[in-house]
């Protein structure tokens, strides 16, 4: 294992320390491992918190700031944070208008956020939980933990964050988040495994000649393996299950998000984006807005994911709303 780290056990704490120094507009609680907007709680605004295992940077801490999250709770690498963290964050971002929890659909995340929401309710804080489950790679949700929360999480945090920033109420902000999740679908491909620092070797073996299709963001193996192929064909096999799952040919088009898994350079993501755009054009789907870059990663995994969100007027206005966070900044 070659990584720019000190003791593998200190990676999360040390990264948070660096983040705090680099971003004085954030306030980091190192004891609870929570990244806050320095000006939180914002009185009268619905608070938005998310959180999850670390290793997906910039998600979630990189999305804390005006127009997006009020706080992010960092767990150990690939391990959900604990209820104490979400409860503490919920208390500290509540500006009197209630708090939305944005939760990726993983067994651990759901259980720990559920416990935190129960504890917050006992303290009379209004909490709305929204579960993100956009990954079409998981097909049969009757016999599984259900679809995973992947790329749509970034879009939900952006769009619900904008809705909260506009002054919408708790129920409305949660509705935006649920609407985005319901209209978004994602699919990912890995070229390599990732290596968890505390483990020290790749989570799975993937030969040089093969790719893993339908991966999640924790190095969990995907749906199937196949030989390496050109970007054009990889784009097809990612978009096929997405376009089969939901109709994106609406009048307002789609917000299209090509995401890097951590070790794939931007030049390859743009090659992929061109291929994705070509397929969408052939399918009669108009691209309303785009996002390309590593926003929800899986440590040092090489690969990418594609997320499509069926747009509407309201979502496009929310997309164009100013946002100012370490990892996503526009209109300000």
């Amino acid at each position: 294992m070659k990584k720019l780290i000190n003791d593998p056990a200190d990676v999360v704490a040390e990264a948070l320390r660096g983040m705090a120094i680099a971003h004085p507009e954030l306030r980091v609680d190192h004891t609870h491992r929570i990244v806050y907007r320095a000006d939180s709680p914002v009185q009268g605004k619905v608070g938005l918190i998310s959180g999850g295992g670390s290793g997906h940077e910039p998600l979630h801490g990189g999305f804390v700031g005006p127009g997006m999250l009020d706080a992010a709770c960092a767990g150990e690498i690939f391990t959900s944070p604990v209820p104490d963290q979400m409860l503490e964050a919920t208390r500290n971002v509540d500006g009197g208008a209630g708090v939305v929890h944005i939760v990726k659909n993983y067994t651990g995340d759901v259980m720990n956020f559920e416990m935190a929401a129960e504890l917050a309710a006992a303290e009379d804080i209004s909490v709305e939980s929204v579960i993100i489950d956009d990954d079409v790679a998981v097909q049969d949700s009757t016999y599984t933990a259900g679809r995973r929360g992947v790329g749509a999480t970034v879009l939900v945090e952006k769009l619900a964050g904008a809705a909260a920033d506009q002054g919408r109420g708790l129920g409305e902000v949660a509705d935006v988040a649920r609407r985005v999740n319901a209209a978004a679908r994602s699919m990912g491909v890995a070229l390599t495994s990732c290596t968890v620092p505390a483990v020290g070797h790749p989570t799975f073996d993937l030969p040089d000649t093969e790719i893993e299709v339908g991966i999640g963001i924790h190095g969990e193996p995907g749906r199937e393996r196949m030989p390496v192929r050109p970007a054009r064909e990889v784009a097809e096999l990612m978009l096929d299950p997405i376009l089969t799952d939901l109709d994106f040919a609406g009048p307002d088009g789609a917000i299209v998000f090509v995401n890097g898994m951590g070790a794939t350079p931007l030049i390859e993501l743009y090659v992929m984006y061109a291929e994705v755009a070509a397929i969408l054009e052939k399918s009669g789907i108009q691209i309303a807005r785009s996002l390309v870059g590593p926003y929800i990663t899986s440590l040092d995994m090489a690969g990418c994911s594609v997320t499509l969100l069926r747009a509407d007027d309201d979502l496009l206005r929310l997309w164009d709303h100013p946002v100012n966070t370490p990892a996503l900044r526009k209109g300000c």
């Binding site: 295992g53 767990g75 150990e76 690498i77 690939f78 391990t79 959900s80 944070p81 604990v82 209820p83 104490d84 993983y106 067994t107 651990g108 259980m111 720990n112 559920e114 416990m115 790679a137 998981v138 049969d140 016999y143 599984t144 933990a145 995973r148 968890v196 505390a198 483990v199 989570t203 799975f204 999640g216 924790h218 190095g219 969990e220 193996p221």
Partner: protein, 215 residues
């Protein structure tokens, strides 16, 4: 002969024995998890049980409920993932069932273990053959109850429970995972033993070791 009742000191030794076994097998549990999950079960549970041991070293707990509640709260606050809430629920329910007593009879201890497993089921919504820790715990409790009902002492009943837990653990190898991250693999989860069932079998084995040695 095992003593007729289980006291605070014994339960604490059981918990410390579980912590020791988890620490010794942290890499093994993580390797099992790497095959079908996300390669952190041993690391997380070891972090949690180390925190439990540190908490117990710091302040002795006055009664059975206080002791097991401390264990549950510490696990919930330090483990994360799914195993934090699940093992946490187990010990918190155990605490509620044991109550603030210095000691309980073997039958009441078995009843408390069952309450603990009910807590796991409620939090995780697992059913038999979902390839989870429940697949080791459920047969263990049935064996324990059967042993006690047939007049065995606690040590031999717990030993039957250990054998049943280990058989349940081994049987998860042939199952398709329907809960947790392993479920995303579908058929590809077959052929691997479930890491949660493995650590759960260690919990039962630690009880058999501790209470057996007290006989």
């Amino acid at each position: 002969m095992t003593r007729a009742s289980i006291d605070v000191d014994q339960v604490e030794r059981w918990i410390r024995e579980f912590a020791r076994v988890v620490a010794d097998n942290a890499q093994f549990l993580t390797d099992l998890d790497a095959a079908i999950g996300d390669a952190d079960h041993g690391i997380n549970l070891d972090r949690g049980m180390s925190a439990v041991v540190a908490a117990l070293d710091e302040a002795p707990q006055p009664d059975l409920a206080a002791l097991t509640k401390k264990v549950g709260m510490t696990l919930v606050s330090s483990v994360g993932g799914a195993s934090g809430p699940l093992y946490g629920a187990f010990f918190l329910r155990l605490a509620a069932s044991l109550g603030p007593a210095d000691a309980v009879a073997a039958a009441d201890f078995a009843k408390a273990l069952r309450a603990g497993v009910d807590g796991v089921v409620q939090r995780g919504r697992a059913e038999a053959d979902d390839k989870t820790m429940f697949d080791a715990l459920a047969p263990a409790l049935d064996a324990l109850d059967a042993g006690l009902a047939s007049g065995s002492d606690l040590a031999s009943a717990l030993d039957r429970a250990r054998v049943a837990a280990e058989a349940g653990r081994d049987a998860t190898e042939g199952l398709v995972a329907r809960k947790g991250r392993a479920s995303y693999l579908g058929q590809r989860s077959v052929g691997h033993i479930d890491p949660g069932a493995t650590s759960a079998a260690m919990l039962i084995a630690a009880a058999a070791t501790t209470f057996g040695a007290d006989g």
